[in-house]
């Protein structure tokens, strides 16, 4: 049956392999269906979310590059305005008069205003005025001789490299301009802008987690927005410097000196040839994508879980409804009626109603059939009983009368031996006729059953078999000397006849035990033989097969009419036992 179902199904759905279709449950189908619908939706929304996150990332990267360019321009502008102020100072009238003391005071006032320091150096690099020292104190040679020489040679403004001020031992980076007297370079005037750098950076208003670095023309770090004390004065890494110098502006990924991976944008400051770098940590840059991804995974996972749960619940519901139908079908198959409960699904409800209807019809026809069978059996038994009685009482009596008549005329034939012989043969014929009549009547209906009851009829019947066959028959009857309803007695007797005939014909038994007893509100008939038996098998319908095997279907129907049941027990070489129970 199972293989038949598979074939039918595989013919129905061509696009799935038969093996798979026959094994997938309704639940699996529903889950699969929902996945097929939901998965592309989820994938689509994932693409959308990721794309917008990447967009955001691009916007941020662009803005970083933009800010780096803007920062370089701003610093250029500030340096330009500082240069103008230094140029103004360089044209101080005190140079014409040669009163350097007055110049010191003027420079100190400016330095104070700018919160920077001003240094005046002669062309050989010897400091002449330093606003960080009192006028007249001995001053050292400038530490950045190269810068002084550059101004002396070019007679143009210039920005020095980062050095330490030998007077104050502070970081020092100056805008140097030439001071001309009578058309000749007399001094080099420098303003230290190092103290101004922090304010310049603050003016850029960058987010705190961004890293702003300014390097001088040599590649030395002159300012840094994070951990300045640690890194200012450090030389840049050659590989990094190479990339920074390769173009006026650009970007590249980098791992900062503190070990933070970042996206780095840079731009050159035109006047000072500084390089302004703005680094944005990957954490910040990729934040949107990461947040979107985790949000996506979380919400997608939740949605998927909810959907799957829903699918399982729906699948369960359908499967439940279908297995309910299976149960109903089983019940209907047994010929019983059902009152289906609502399944909540229109189609299965409809099937259940159809099953109910089918069950009603089946039940009704089974009942009609059973009634018909009952009537048939009753009529048959009645008819047989009547014929048997007729044979006995009417025909048999005439036969007796006939024989009596023969006896009566016997004396009259005493003188004629031929007639006497003839008469004797006739009497013998009548005798045979009587015996035959009796046998036919018995087979039609054992009148002992009606006249004497089940116990004696059964005893008698088994005794005859004991005489006729080599079977050893053990009989135990315990009926409390009561007469059972006629229908039950007849059924039991006929069942016994069938069972014993089976034993004699098929079992090859030496011994048969018959137990007939009343108790616990029922009458039991057990027929047990020690014959060859057979394998009932272990299946659920093994009993059914056994009943068919022994041809006891009619017996069971007969028993069903009086509410009785038939059970069978057998094993190869272990004999067969038939159990009959009829409730009283």
């Amino acid at each position: 049956m199972a293989s038949g179902t598979t074939v039918a199904r595989s013919a129905g759905t061509g696009w799935l392999p038969a093996r798979l279709t026959s094994q997938l449950s309704v639940r699996a189908h529903v889950v699969g269906l929902i996945l097929v619908i939901v998965a592309p939706l989820l994938a689509f929304s994932a693409v959308l979310v990721l794309r917008s996150a990447i967009n955001e990332q691009d916007v941020m990267a662009n803005s970083v590059r933009e800010r780096a360019r803007a920062a370089a321009a701003a610093i250029d502008h500030q340096l330009g305005s500082l240069r103008s102020r230094v140029l103004v100072l360089a044209s101080s009238p005190h140079f014409q008069t040669g009163n350097l003391g007055a110049f010191h005071d003027q420079a100190a006032a400016l330095a104070d205003k700018m919160q920077a320091s001003v240094v005046l150096t002669d062309p050989d690099g010897q400091e002449v005025v330093n606003t960080r020292a009192r006028f007249g104190d001995p001053l050292p040679v400038t530490p950045d001789l190269d810068a002084v020489r550059r101004v002396v040679n070019t007679i143009a403004a210039d920005v020095s490299s980062l050095t330490r001020d030998p007077v104050s031992n502070e970081w020092f980076i100056s805008i140097n301009v030439p001071v001309l007297r009578d058309g000749h370079l007399a001094y080099v005037l420098g303003v230290n802008v190092a103290p101004l750098l922090p304010r310049m950076m603050a003016d850029l208003n960058l987010p705190s987690e961004w890293l702003l670095t300014i390097a001088d023309r040599d590649g030395r770090t002159i300012a840094r927005s994070i951990e300045a004390e640690r890194f200012v004065g450090e030389m840049g890494r050659p590989a990094v410097l190479q990339r920074l110098r390769a173009s006026d502006e650009g970007w590249f990924p980098i791992v900062s000196r503190d070990g933070i991976p970042m996206y780095n944008a840079f731009a050159h400051v035109k006047f000072s040839d500084w390089i302004v770098s703005i680094g944005i940590p990957d954490d910040v840059l990729f934040g949107p994508v990461r947040r979107s991804t985790s949000l996506l995974i979380l919400s997608g996972g939740t949605a998927l879980a909810v959907v799957l749960l829903l699918a399982l619940v729906i699948g369960q519901r359908i499967a439940g409804a279908i297995s309910g139908l299976m149960h109903y079908a089983d019940v209907v198959g047994r010929g019983e009626r059902i009152t289906p409960a609502a399944t909540g699904i229109r189609e299965t409800d409809a099937v259940a109603r159809s099953l109910q209807l089918a069950g009603e019809r089946l039940h009704q026809s089974a009942q009609e059939r059973s009634e018909l069978l009952q009537r048939t059996f009753t009529a048959q038994e009645a008819e047989r009983r009547r014929i048997a009685r007729e044979l006995h009482d009417s025909l048999g009596q005439y036969l007796t009368a006939l024989r009596l008549g023969f006896t009566a005329i016997e004396p009259h034939c005493a003188c004629n031996p031929a007639a006497q012989q003839r008469l004797a043969r006739l009497k013998s014929l009548a005798s045979d006729l009587g015996r035959e009549l009796n046998r036919i009547a018995w087979e039609l209906r054992p009148m002992a059953l009606d006249d004497l009851g089940l116990r004696r009829a059964v005893t008698q019947y088994l005794e005859e078999w004991a005489d006729r066959s080599r079977l050893q028959i053990d009989l135990e009857i315990n009926l409390d000397d009561r007469r059972l309803p006629q229908a039950i007695e007849t059924a039991l007797f006929r069942v016994l006849q069938e069972a014993i005939t089976n034993v004699v014909k098929h079992s090859r038994a030496d011994r048969v035990g018959v137990i007939l007893e009343v108790g616990n509100g029922e009458v039991r008939l057990i027929v047990e033989d020690d014959g060859q038996g057979f394998d009932l098998g272990a299946g659920q319908d093994s009993m059914e097969l056994g009943i068919q095997h022994l041809g006891l279907i009619g017996v069971r129907e007969r028993l069903a009419l009086v509410g009785g049941s038939l059970e069978l027990e057998s094993s190869p070489r272990g004999g067969t036992t038939v159990f009959v129970r009829i409730p009283l």
């Binding site: 006896t407 009549l437 108790g519 027990e569």
Partner: protein, 209 residues
């Protein structure tokens, strides 16, 4: 003489009446009249058929036994089944004669019964045997037999007519186990069939509980 069939009754009367030893004191064609007449006429022998209207031969024989114990009964019937014979012998009838033998044997049978003896038709006399297969001795095992509680449980249920499957369900053990217990216990008791077990169980009083 009791027979519901007039032709037969006439034939019987002719047969018996021809014998000078017998006098027919009364005749009846149904059981009730027969009993009535027997009470009135007090015959030595009543010859009766089994199939009778009103009150059948078996009932009549039973009634005669209580009402007229001195009256001997000879059953004359077409029934060859020993079930009838046994039942009637239990009721104390003196003779059982088949109608097909009546023409030859009736006078002899009446004579035997009247003399207080028993007459059985030779055609079925051979069939009367003792209780069918009652090997009572077999169902009395030695006192030394000891059954385990489980074996006793199983045997009790077998004896009360349960199938192995039903027992396995009741005792919560497998059918195979039931078979094993049953086989072992039956072997201990030396029984070969369920019938012996049922008799043993009845003796042990198992079935009353």
């Amino acid at each position: 003489m009791v027979d519901d069939h007039p032709v037969v009754l006439a034939g019987l009367k002719a047969l018996v009446g021809a014998d000078p030893d017998f006098t027919i004191v009364g005749e009846a064609r149904d059981g009730r009249t027969a009993l009535h007449l027997a009470m009135q006429l007090a015959p030595n022998v009543v010859v009766l058929d089994i199939s009778l209207p009103e009150m059948n031969g078996i009932e009549l024989a039973a009634a005669l036994r209580t009402e007229r114990p001195d009256c001997r009964v000879l059953v004359l019937t077409v029934h060859e089944e020993r079930a009838y014979l046994r039942q009637l012998l239990e009721l104390g009838v003196g003779g059982y004669l088949l109608k097909r033998s009546a023409a030859d044997e009736l006078p002899r049978a009446i004579r035997a019964v009247a003399a207080g003896g028993t007459y059985l038709d030779p055609a079925i006399a051979g069939k009367v045997v003792g209780d069918l297969g009652r090997g009572r001795s077999q169902s009395q095992p030695g006192e030394s037999v000891e059954l385990s509680d489980r074996e006793t449980d199983v045997l009790r249920m077998v004896a009360s007519g349960h199938s192995n499957k039903a027992i396995s369900g009741r005792l919560n053990i497998s059918v195979k186990t039931v078979e094993t217990y049953k086989a072992r216990a039956m072997e201990k008791l030396g029984f070969h069939s369920r019938v012996e077990l049922v008799r043993y169980a009845a003796d042990q009083g198992w079935l009353r509980e």
